[in-house]
């Protein structure tokens, strides 16, 4: 659980003398087949057991996630993509407030902006869009999506592992 102190006490320890704190947020609905790619990726990263890597999953991003986002140095957002590159596309994110917010939709860029505005911290952030194909009412990834997940997770593990290694 994250304490409320984050609001008033941003991290002060320089990155050079500690491992970067990494957050992986996988979001989507596992009850809609490949829409569950984000949570599945978070679960795979969690299985790696890195002590400075936190994972979480949710059906959608919510404003409260800004607390966790602000408490980390690097954030990987992982979502399913209905189209685009397979196995995945990785995009570096910058804060951007989005007025089209509804309680059912919050973009990661807006979350970064809220973290900046409320807590004065913007982590390095990436969006991993894993290509999905089937979005019906079923709790199972399609075979093609499962293959994309494996490749995307391998890529993420390599990037996260490298970051943790060079920061030692």
């Amino acid at each position: 659980m994250t304490g409320l102190a984050i609001a008033n006490t941003p991290v002060a320890v320089p990155l050079a003398i500690r491992s970067p704190r990494i957050l992986v947020i996988g979001y989507g609905n596992p009850g809609r087949q490949d829409d569950g790619l984000g949570p599945a990726a978070a679960a795979e990263i969690k299985a790696a057991g890195w002590p400075s890597v936190t994972t979480c999953d949710n059906y959608q991003l919510v404003i409260e996630d800004a607390v966790e986002v602000a408490a980390h140095d690097v954030v990987w957002f992982v979502d399913a993509a209905r189209d685009g590159d397979a196995p995945c596309a990785i995009q570096r994110l910058s804060p951007a407030l989005d007025i089209t917010f509804t309680s059912h939709l919050l973009k990661p860029e807006a979350l970064l902006a809220i973290a900046d505005q409320q807590f004065g911290r913007v982590p390095e952030a990436h969006l991993v869009s894993i290509r999905g194909y089937e979005f019906d009412f079923l709790e199972a990834l399609s075979d093609r999506a499962r293959n994309n997940l494996a490749l995307a997770v391998t890529l993420m593990r390599r990037r996260i592992g490298y970051l943790l290694k060079v920061s030692r």
Binding site: M1, T2, I63, E64, V67, L97, Q118
Partner: protein, 483 residues
């Protein structure tokens, strides 16, 4: 931002962005031959069918399945179903640990849901004005302009979610309440982490309430008169009439506070309520049986929860309740906008109850389950954030569900929402045109009830709010869409 499309027939005006209700709705306002507002209908035109889905499922699966109705109040459905299945399992009394774990989860749920509504959905209207540009009336703008309120919005809701996670195993779609009890207790680590924050949460909830009272004081006429009308109210209350959002018996009061019925067991709900079906909506129209269709409709939710109870057993919320009921000289407060004030009273109450429970050692007890002789029927009621929620199931000798009936809060408020829309139409409709102001005010009136349409109708997907103005013969005159 709005865009306008003119056609040769009825005018159609399309407006963005989306409305802030949980789900989606359509409103029709019909004029009489004299051009006056005859009736307003808040349509629900989609259907999800969870009552059918659960047929044939094993009864112990239902608390997990049924909560998938909704991503906003799954905890309420999880707990209502678990309570109904307690009855099926033959358990009339839970162990203290199970009872208190479920209560703690429920208070966390009401806290986070009421915070979601008051800060994310309602505060943009209240802080910027009902007629402020739509691109300004959203939580992002609130965070920008009112960072202190933004802090409350983030941390109060997050705290409620942490309570749910600690008691239910997950922030959304918890798994811990099972027929006859609970599957884990509260760890001391989670208890201690929640204890460290709870005083600040109570302080912020109280500050939010005070801030809202400032809005009421500054807008007395608007607050009293906007979409206002008299109604009956229904909610659960405890044995002595005090507020109890988790369990209790049903009380119904009339517009002047007179008792219609009291201490009715939820098991007997069918003796006191009728669910009427109307062809133009998938949302049923329940009303109080003894009063009939015309006079028996009622309101549920925070306004009813505060109006119906005779006391609140936490000090800050009780003081707030006394101030609230003084607003109408001790009679039930009728103002539609008073839903927000009452919601904040309940918010404070939940924060106080959470603190009380966090210092109760029963939560670390290990006696989690009770057993009994199985029955063929389960009925339970809970005060969800949006109001009274009833779950009713029958189960066969193979443990399979044979029927389900859910009366959710938004269904209970169905007629009341229609009345609120009619009040707005009568006050705001000028000529035969749907103005931006009318559309905004219709939205604000509906939003006061915090309707969860996907839950009430079991709808899936996105549907815009559509307002249509009709002649007395049903011919469309004008239509505006927010999507």
């Amino acid at each position: 931002m709005s865009s306008v499309q003119l056609s040769q027939g009825p005018r159609k005006i399309v407006i963005d962005p989306v409305t802030r209700v949980e789900g989606h709705g359509k409103v029709t306002i019909r004029l009489n031959a004299a051009g006056e507002v005859d009736e307003a209908r808040f349509h629900i035109v989609e259907f999800r069918g969870f009552e059918r889905f659960v047929r044939g499922r094993m009864y112990w699966e239902v608390p997990l399945i049924i909560q998938r109705l909704c991503g906003i109040c799954p905890v309420s459905h999880h707990l209502a179903a678990a309570k109904a299945m307690d009855m099926v399992a033959g358990v009339d009394r839970l162990t203290p640990t199970a009872e208190k774990m479920r209560r703690l989860m429920h208070y966390g749920q009401v806290l986070q849901s009421n915070a979601l509504h008051i800060f994310h959905l309602a505060s943009p209207d209240l802080l910027f004005g009902f007629d402020a540009p739509p691109e300004q009336r959203n939580i992002i703008a609130v965070l920008n302009r009112f960072p202190e309120i933004g802090k409350w919005a983030i941390f109060i809701r997050k705290y409620g979610q942490e309570v749910i996670k600690a008691t239910g195993g997950r922030k959304i779609h918890p798994t811990s309440a099972v027929p006859g009890g609970i599957n884990h207790n509260l760890s001391t680590d989670d208890r201690d982490a929640l204890r460290r924050q709870v005083d600040e949460i109570i302080a912020w909830c109280s500050a939010a309430l005070e801030h809202h009272k400032g809005f009421v004081a500054a807008n007395q006429t608007l607050h009293r008169d906007f979409a206002s009308y008299k109604s009956n109210f229904v909610s659960l209350v405890g044995p002595g009439g005090g507020m109890d959002l988790y369990d209790g018996r049903l009380r119904a009061i009339g517009p002047d506070g007179q008792t219609i019925f009291d201490q009715v067991s939820p098991i007997d709900y069918r003796d006191h309520f009728i669910e009427e079906v109307r062809p133009w909506s998938y949302l049923k129209f329940p009303h109080i049986r003894s009063l009939g269709r015309e006079n028996g409709w009622y309101r549920v939710g925070p306004l009813a929860q505060v109006n119906c109870c005779t006391s609140i057993d936490t000090p800050l919320a009780e003081a707030a309740r006394n101030e609230f009921i003084a607003e109408n000289g001790g009679s039930p407060v009728q103002a539609t906008l008073a839903y927000h004030w009452a919601r904040l009273v309940c918010l404070v109450h939940c924060a106080e109850k959470i603190k009380e429970l966090l210092f109760d050692d029963d939560l670390q007890g290990t006696d989690l389950m009770a057993t009994g002789e199985q029955r063929g029927e389960g009925i339970a009621c809970i005060e969800a954030p949006r109001g009274t929620l009833i779950h009713h199931y029958t189960v066969d000798e193979h443990d399979q569900v044979t029927s389900a009936n859910l009366i959710v809060s938004t269904t209970n408020n169905n007629e009341a929402m229609n009345r609120a829309v009619k009040q707005v139409a009568m006050s705001d409709l000028s000529g035969r045109e749907i103005t931006e102001g009318l559309l905004n005010h219709v939205e604000v009136a509906i939003r006061a009830f915090d309707p969860c349409l996907s839950c009430a109708t079991h709808a899936l997907g996105q549907m815009p709010l559509i307002v249509t103005l009709e002649d007395s013969d049903g011919t469309p005159i004008a239509e505006r869409i927010k999507q």
